[in-house]
Amino acid sequence: MFLHQSQSRTSPVRRVSARRCVMAFGIAVVATVCPGTVSAQAPVGATERGQASASASSLDQILKQLSTYDGGIESDAAWKLRDYVYARKDEAVGRAECEGKLLPFLRSPATPAAKMIAARYLRVIASDSAVLALQAMLVDERLADLAIYTLQQIPGGAAEAALIQTTKTAAGATKIALVSALGERRAVAAVPAIVPLLQQPATAAIAATALGRIGGTEAVAALTVAYASAPAALRPVVASSLLACAETALAAKDNATALRLYETLTSDAALPINIRKAAVAGRLSASGDRVALMRYFTEPGTSMNSSTPQGVATRVAVGSDPALRAAAIAKIADLFPPEEIAPICALLSRLTDSEKIQLLAVLSAYPGERVAPAVMMELTSPTVEVRLAALKALGAAAGPSAVLPLAEVAAMRRGPEQAAARSALGSLRGRAVDDEVIAQLARKPPDGIAGELLLSVGDRRIFPAKAVVAAALTSPSPLIRIQALKALRGIGTPSDMAAVLDRLPAIEDETELAEVEKTVAALALTIENPDGRSRTVKARLASEKLPRSRMQLIGLLPLIGDNSALPALRGLLADEDAGVFDAAVRAIAAWPTPAAREDLLRLARDSRVETHRLLAIGGLVRIVGLDKYRDQQSSVADLRQAAGFSWRPEEQKLVLGALAQFPCREALELADGFLREPAVKAEAKAAIDRITARLAREAIRK
């Protein structure tokens, strides 16, 4: 029975491929690097099953059953027909039988839905022998779609000839469909039959489109003639087809024809601007004429610039038509090699803001030494969008000379501009850029710029700058120290942890402390062995006497998440110093892996400090969801315990929020129990809904 479910299903299925599909490539290699996918081999086709099923009924029986199909649920015959045809499509006798019976079926009194099913499979197997029968159907308005559906796909001259021949006599929508089909087939032989249709209002647009798709000398000639005399409404259609023909000519290296067509269209001011733009772009491509391109920017004319920060619109005197200039800008990359780009760069300052943004995007693909000076000028544009475009272009194109300007912008600006400048500084290509960053740092620039340069050291992974970064860690400037810490996260190694930890006692500022913690954690996480990542911190902890420093070191451990540090933390739960004890509890509560489960359970149950109990409950709820290999019932049992430890709705809501991860009966029962608690009733209901929905989905999958 067909499944009717609200979520998803896998329908009853049958494979229809005629071949086993086993490709060996890659499998052996997979075994060496990815044992989990060793079994990843292609599935075995079930052709035999399909054939057996298909042969159980004769084609006549199938078609008889199919003939009353209304297009709805009772589709058995449709699938039987599919299996029958597919089982025979690769052998001549079977194909002939199918074709011989499907063709008359299309003319039978069967329902339209049934005939469409038949046509669908006839399309796969029909050959020249079907052409005459299909052609005969083209004159019947009710059957024409089915016939074209099949004929259009039959390769070879017979089908094409039938389509052409019928085009001459057909009328109305069928004629239109036939012309379209010939266009899609790129039927050059059909051009003489289609050309006369250009003169008839009802078919002119369809014919022009088909000719545009076919292309070639005859089509071009006919379209050119038609274009000259076409009524206004038709001209854009014919023009579009001429554009397509020009592209075909260009692809065939017939630049002269392409150029002639493009020039015809470019000069027609009555055409929609988007078609003229396409013609301009095409003409420039076909001619490769750089002078012609420049002319779009040097002819007299006016154009409105966008608003300045003062809210004043200004006019600049360049070019005659902004839309056509946009088309010209788009062709610059095709026409101007790097060594010829200077005149274009010179134009930049004279363009409107909108054009500047477009041109900056184009220039970003050119070598930096050719375009960077002009692009850098736009860093001072009054329009932020232009400045952003310039920054982006510099990031893509520029070299060492852009290092300082970009660092300056990053230091001076905030928001998107700062982000863009930093991104650009990180994107500049080449070792020379890295050398320039180091050189600029050596010149002791102002703190803001030095900070940005240090950031780029990390972003760019400039390892030779390690000494500079190490020195910056002890800079008197907090900004420099913080940026040096960030840089170290990019280029540091575990051996750098000691230098960073040395800074801990002196740090008063919370922001800097957070950066130190992040940096130590980042460096520790580069250690391959997960159980060795906290060794340096543990060693410091063992020798450190000052409670404040010990607390700071303890706070690092959950950020590193090395489970081998948990015993040390447990030991600290007996520490006499209240601050150290508190830090240890907080570290366990924030532990990032399920290894702290027992500790958290113990703390949640036994701690005498309410804050610690609540922290532990929160931590427990969090890590229950982290252990993906644990069975759901056990996880729910932990959550039940966590809920039992707490009387506050806050923690109960946490538990209920986590429950939906475990769709099982036990989770439902636990959530159900909270329905009686007014403070968490809504959360309990939501949890039950989510669990129920997930259970339903899983049931469907099963």
Partner: protein
């Protein structure tokens, strides 16, 4: 963006809701952002947009665009009154007015003449016709994947986008997510060595997006829904609820099943990482399992193997547990796997490695929709342009053909022709029902 289409100050003022108007320095109805302050978008730079299709992905795309101050959404178009009115209400609520126009015919929408861009999210059989008409009308397009319903349509659409110089962004938004970008960069920079095999895991079965499974009774279409136009160029079939909104995807006349729905995501990412996004495989073969009941005919389970010119083998599969959901590149020294919400590697440290500026950097954006808007201004390529979407969809189309014919398809990605198999070649295109025709 063309100057003549800019949504000018005058129009902008008409649409600014009074509730939103007024900033401290300007006690009038002119927002500070309208004057280009604080990095906000000036009114003359607003991108005027409309949407076509609100039955599935359309509302979500529109909501994202409506959240961008630089967009002025002026119209919605759908063949069904119900989603059409909902979409209109959503726009009017956003702007606090009743200005959003409605259309049932996309040609009338394009004829407005004031649009810069359009978001298209309609059933696949309509993709090529509406999209080519849009770019021919001079509009930039945010379009949903798969790019088109047939491979030949895809080439025609790419040609049209190029011909008319339009910006195209495909809804393959995974490219704009950190984990996918990172995975692709790791692979592209050889972090796992030469790639030995790629596994692309896609969903299986059919999903009841619309809650209409089982509603297969043939009946008259509801008033306000132009069903015949909805069918459009596809073969005519009588109306039933389960056939249309959202669940059309499971019928090969209107969609392409899970394979075509997802190939523009996970396989697109696979292509991106390997630098294959502007070419295609040279060999494709596959098997599929199909329903034996009901009205849907797209494969519920499928296994497609491809091989590229450099010898790289790639498997796309839906419904096979040995192929993990997402994209996995298996190299000679490890592997990288990525999926929504997941990025893993072997060795594990790879995922934390930094890609240096002297290595290959892939196109970076963190907001797929903003990337489209940025490109509308700069005319630069988006992160998911038409050609790239066409190449990922092509693999799906070829997979479908391989499954249908049961033969290994030899493919020339340069000429986009099937080699030595005329019967398979015929499946590269689809016949249109009269009187529909693909524009040029």
């Amino acid at each position: 963006m063309t100057n003549h289409r800019r949504y000018g100050r005058r129009q902008f003022l008409k649409t600014v809701p009074l509730a939103l108007a007024g900033a401290a320095a300007f006690p009038s109805i002119v927002k500070a952002s309208a004057l280009g302050r604080a990095g906000a978008v000036a009114p003359s730079d607003r991108i005027v947009m409309a949407g076509i299709g609100f039955g599935m992905q359309g509302p979500s795309n529109m909501s994202t665009f409506l959240g961008k101050n630089e967009v002025q959404w002026v119209a919605v178009c759908d063949l069904d009154d119900v989603p059409l009115r909902k979409a209109q209400e959503r726009v009017n609520a956003r702007y606090g007015n009743k200005d959003c126009a409605t259309y049932k015919d996309y040609r009338e929408l394009f004829a407005r003449g004031d649009l810069d861009a359009v978001s298209i999210a309609i059933p696949d059989q309509w993709h090529a016709i509406v999209s080519i008409a849009a770019v021919r009308a001079g509009l930039d397009v945010y379009g949903e994947k798969p790019l088109t319903h047939s491979l030949r349509e895809g080439r025609a659409l790419c040609d049209a986008v190029k011909r008319y110089g339009r910006v195209w962004q495909t809804g393959s938004w995974q490219r704009s997510e950190d984990n996918f970008h990172r995975a692709a960069e790791l692979v592209r920079n050889g972090r796992v060595g030469k790639i030995q095999r790629v596994e692309v895991g896609l969903p299986e079965g059919h999903h009841d997006f619309a809650g209409t499974f089982g509603q297969e009774k043939i009946e008259a279409p509801p008033a306000g829904f132009d069903y015949d136009s909805w069918i459009g160029p596809a073969p005519w079939t009588p109306y039933c609820k389960a056939r249309v909104h959202m669940n059309w995807r499971w019928n090969m006349d209107y969609g392409g099943g899970q394979l075509m729905d997802w190939v523009g995501h996970h396989l697109d990412i696979a292509h991106w990482a390997l630098g294959l996004e502007r070419t295609g495989p040279v060999e494709v073969r596959g098997t599929g399992e199909f329903p034996t009941k009901g009205i849907y005919n797209s494969p519920t389970k499928y296994w497609v193997e491809t091989r590229y010119a450099d010898g790289t083998p790639m498997v796309l599969a839906g419904g096979y547990s040995e192929i993990q959901s997402g994209t996995k590149w298996i190299g000679e020294s490890g592997w990288v796997w990525v999926d929504r919400g997941g990025l893993e590697s072997q060795p594990a440290r790879l995922v934390n490695e930094i890609i240096g500026p002297n290595e290959t950097r892939l196109y970076r954006c963190r907001d797929h929709w903003q990337n489209f808007l940025d490109s509308v201004r700069s005319r630069a390529l988006t992160i998911a342009p038409a050609e790239v979407a066409h190449r990922s969809a092509s693999v799906g189309h070829l997979g479908v053909i391989a499954i249908e014919t049961g033969r290994t398809i030899k493919w020339d990605p340069a000429t986009e022709t099937i080699i030595g198999d005329a019967a398979a070649e015929r499946l590269l295109s689809r016949s249109y029902r009269k009187p529909y025709q693909m524009p040029v």
